[in-house]
Symmetry: C2
Subunit: 215 residues, 2 copies
């Protein structure tokens, strides 16, 4: 069956997934960009934004795994944008411009209904108001047998982990201290939820971990 | 000047320094031993307990750094033993038998006075009741120009970090999930305290990080 996967989710050495003080100018929070050095330098990432070059090797292999076989995405609302509460209008179309890097249906969790939004390059944002299980069901249908990628943010990943719905989670830990922000793993008892670390692959820029649910 | 150093302090991937449910049978908490695989397999560790063999290489280099140039240790009381409150008698002499692996003066932080305790092999336990700065001052004097090693536990390391008294901290992150226990870095804002990560060295068993205070 198609898997629900977290891929390329980057944490600081002190466990934060986004820097403090997120806002429109710093959607990853202050210092959050330094976190993603391992990813930004890869060929996969460079090509995603129309660039040439970029590194190959382990970091790039993990970056590519994030897209291979992905048929749909799920995002928490804060990943889609900084707006809280009811949508004031339909002007906000995500952080990514007219052609977002998803190229698949993307299911955005929200409490506030909004019509679907078709973007260039195959990305269609659907707004799901009836919870994480409904979003996963719809994403699986849309993915047509391929995997569903759970993009984040942290609160959304935690919800899916607590419900034991994540099949596999790739984390990259960067050698960076953020000091504050949102903590992914503190307060989650992953072993009690059936998860264990099944792979550790270090590079010069990060250490990659794959966490999976056992039988 | 002699440095105050944390060395070989091991954290799980989810940030815990000791497993849940510490007790006499499991002084590192449940699952805590799996954390220390990188260390237990080294030549330095094997020799410390009279064994032959053990690995050389990066893990062993970090293990050896933990003893090279160390002239005194500081330990929190819970590292010394499981007894809480006033000492009922002087029967408890630490977890390590008659010849502990320190071979230097060791300053144990406690609220309850107790006479110093001389062990075989050069280890002398001194019980310090007037706080972390007094313990550091006495340890520096005893170290005679060599470094002072801060052994732990987590609450003790956090106190010294908050007081900006730690000069260097080597952490080893093991690819193990513990799920609960004592969290070292969550709740500490290391960048605000002047610390940054200055070195990342991965091995098959752990990723080593060195954190230091900038100028």
């Amino acid at each position: 069956m198609s898997k629900l996967r977290v891929q390329c989710f980057t944490l600081s050495l002190d466990g934060y997934g986004a820097g403090p003080s997120q806002d429109l100018a710093n959607p990853l929070g202050v210092g959050g960009r330094a976190l993603h050095k391992w990813l930004v330098e890869t060929r996969t990432f460079q090509r995603m934004f129309g660039g040439d070059g970029g590194s190959t090797g382990v970091d790039d292999d993990f970056a590519a795994r994030g897209f291979d076989g992905t048929g749909a995405w799920i995002l928490g609302r804060n990943m889609f944008g900084p707006i809280r509460g009811p949508w004031p209008d339909e002007a906000w179309k995500g952080w990514w411009g007219e052609e977002p890097p998803y190229h698949t249906p993307v299911f955005v969790l929200t409490h506030h209904a909004r019509p679907s939004l078709e973007m260039r390059g195959g990305t269609v944002f659907h707004f799901v108001t009836d919870g994480i299980e409904a979003a996963l069901r719809r994403a699986r249908e849309a993915a047509g047998g391929r995997d569903v990628r759970l993009g984040g943010g942290i609160a959304t990943i935690q919800q899916y982990l607590r419900a034991r719905l994540v099949d596999e989670m790739h984390l990259a830990v960067s050698p960076v201290l953020l000091g504050a922000g949102e903590h992914l793993l503190g307060g989650l008892d992953l072993p009690a939820l059936g998860y264990r670390c099944v792979e550790q692959v270090p590079t010069a820029n990060a250490t990659h971990y794959v966490i999976a649910r056992g039988e």
